[in-house]
């Protein structure tokens, strides 16, 4: 009976109408077509683009990538993004991991109250605190400073990561840590040696969600980073695009360079990406 009601079995029994595939393909074209045109254009010359704006390039102009790399300051941008993303992810995992541990395993008093507080505070719009935060950060020397941006991301992304990691920790039987505690292990040791190895999928999911958010984030970096040499790839691409609106081949090449790291990571770990991101939208069900 249980096997009978699984979705896979039913799908096999219900023949899929042809129009389902047609409609699904149309949606896929809508999703990927613009990116494909963008990729094509990154390999054309300016005159190719004028005569052939949509189709594939006739010959591949790889030099666009070399030119875009230097002119759009991509190496510095990607380096700054790498610093921001790795700093954000490392911090979020430590902050959210220990908070989740306190709530899920240490019996934090008033966990429900703390969770409600976190949810309310983390759903405050950034527009409410952006302006005073900007002047606070300017005063204490965190403006135009990568670490200043990382701290903001820690505060913005940790609450959701805490909820995510906590839900993974709750699935771990308490007997695991009890045994380690009886052997005299301290709480930090229990967390690192016993709980962490068992809930790493939760940590990986939280890392992917906050890493993607930090790499693509725009409002905070455009507000808090001013110097060209400190810009992450999001804002260095943006200022390049603003300055080069006529040379679309170079803009496409620079865009492809920015796109590539996240796209590759997503394709490698898509299942976990989708699971983590969709849990943001399933909080209510």
């Amino acid at each position: 009976m249980t096997g009978h009601t699984s979705a896979g079995q039913v799908n096999l029994r219900r023949a899929t109408p042809w129009w389902v595939y047609v409609a699904a393909t149309l949606l896929a074209v809508f999703a990927l077509g613009p990116l494909l045109v963008f990729a094509f254009n990154s390999l054309k010359t300016q005159s190719d683009i004028a005569s052939n704006p949509i189709g594939p390039p006739v010959h591949f102009e790889w030099d666009n990538f070399v030119t875009a790399w230097t002119q759009a300051n991509m190496s510095a941008g990607l380096m700054n993004s790498l610093i921001i993303v790795s700093g954000t992810v490392a911090g979020v995992l430590v902050i959210a991991g220990s908070a989740a541990y306190a709530m899920a395993r240490l019996g934090l008093p008033g966990t429900n109250g703390v969770m409600a507080y976190l949810l309310i505070v983390s759903s405050l719009p950034i527009q409410l605190f952006l302006v005073p935060l900007f002047f606070m950060w300017t005063r204490i020397g965190l403006y135009d400073n990568l670490f200043g941006v990382i701290i903001i991301y820690w505060a913005l992304y940790s609450p959701f990561a805490t909820l995510l990691i906590r839900s993974f920790m709750l699935q771990l039987p308490a007997s695991y840590e009890e045994a380690a505690r009886l052997d005299g292990a301290g709480e930090l040791m229990v967390l690192v040696r016993v709980v962490l190895p068992n809930v790493w999928p939760g940590f990986l999911t939280a890392a992917l969600v906050s890493g993607l958010a930090a790499y693509n984030e725009f409002v905070v970096v455009v507000t808090f980073i001013q110097s060209n040499d400190k810009m992450p790839v999001a804002t260095s691409f943006f200022s390049f695009q603003q300055g080069y609106t006529t040379n679309y081949t170079l803009i496409s090449a620079a865009g492809m360079i920015m796109l590539a790291p996240m796209l590759i990571l997503f394709l490698l770990l898509q299942r976990r990406f989708v699971q983590g991101v969709s849990s943001q939208g399933l909080a209510g069900s």
Partner: protein, 320 residues
């Protein structure tokens, strides 16, 4: 759905839902442990130390500036120098400011667009994926890829495609981003391209939880595809649907990225929204106090939406 309806009364829309299932699990897990009183008490004291980094960061980055924003909203602060208390002057100015009314109206249009277009596309995509037996993973990847693309890149992709020099704009003789009647719709549509795939995966996850025997029963009764979708799928995923609707409304009043990147509120204020108006006041017009007041109003709009949702839930007993 059973887990959600069993949730204890809680203080915010999202917290009750999130804490519902784990609360039961946790109290069950804790019961035997509290017998050995001393180590458990020690652990609880230790728990606050583990919470410390999160709470300190929260206070520093969010709570302190949020409180400051409320204070500055009653002052004439420019962002530099001293702030003088001016009472409700900023808020009075808001209600007579034509730019504010213009921006607020655009946020309302933006909300309507995002409640209809991406939600419909998300439902359609998820439904199609749930019916597909071959290449389902490939289709799902395809739909989700735009969501992983940064807003600055998405903007560049579409600016070219719609360009009136050589893109679709030239073919159709339309200036998508330059025409004051089309600009807001264009920006919203570009944002939608990067957004609807997120809704697909969320709706798909919800649809996969629907009891398949309901469909079998409906088929025996001779129900067609549309009938099954309306009578079984939609009611079954209603909690997810309502939650995403709520979040859509909240996010729509905060929309910023695509508008700032593509048009900065122009042409002629035709895409100006509350967040771009606030940004201009704070960082170009040296009106930090006024910008803070706009931020407070935006936070209040979010609060009203959440409280309204909660009230409807309680009063009408919506099972969400």
């Amino acid at each position: 759905m059973a887990a959600a309806s069993a949730s204890p009364p809680a203080s915010s829309a999202t917290s009750s839902a999130v804490s519902a299932r784990p609360a039961a699990v946790r109290s069950a897990a804790r019961a035997p442990r509290t017998k050995g009183r001393s180590p458990a008490q020690q652990r609880r004291r230790l728990a606050w130390w583990f919470m410390c980094p999160l709470i300190v960061l929260n206070a520093l980055v969010i709570v302190t500036p949020a409180c400051l924003a409320v204070y500055y909203s009653f002052t004439d602060w420019t962002g530099l120098g001293p702030a003088h208390f001016i009472g409700l002057a900023n808020y009075r100015k808001l209600f007579s400011d034509a730019d504010f009314r213009n921006a607020l109206l655009h946020n309302v249009y933006w909300t309507l667009f995002f409640l209809v277009v991406p939600m419909a596309m998300g439902l359609l995509g998820a439904y199609l994926l749930s019916r597909i037996t071959r290449f389902q993973v490939l289709f799902r990847i395809a739909y989700f890829i735009p969501y992983t693309v940064a807003s600055v890149v998405t903007a560049a992709v579409w600016q070219r495609l719609l360009s009136s020099d050589s893109g679709l704009g030239k073919v159709l003789g339309v200036n998508f981003l330059g025409d004051v009647h089309l600009s807001l719709l264009t920006v919203a549509s570009i944002n939608n391209w990067a957004w609807w795939g997120f809704l697909v995966v969320v709706f798909l996850t919800a649809m996969q939880g629907v009891n398949a025997s309901l469909y079998e029963a409906a088929e025996i009764d001779g129900a067609g595809e549309w009938r099954k979708f309306v009578s079984i799928t939609l009611p079954s995923i209603r909690p997810t649907f309502m939650f995403l609707g709520l979040m859509t409304i909240i996010w729509s009043f905060l929309a910023f990225d695509y508008i700032y990147i593509l048009t900065q509120g122009g042409p002629a204020g035709s895409t100006d929204v509350l967040s771009t108006l606030q940004y201009r006041n704070a960082f170009s017009a040296q009106q930090a106090g006024y910008a803070a007041a706009i931020g407070v109003v935006m936070a209040m709009i979010s609060a009203v939406v959440v409280i309204g949702y909660q009230t409807l839930r309680r009063r009408k007993g919506w099972d969400i």
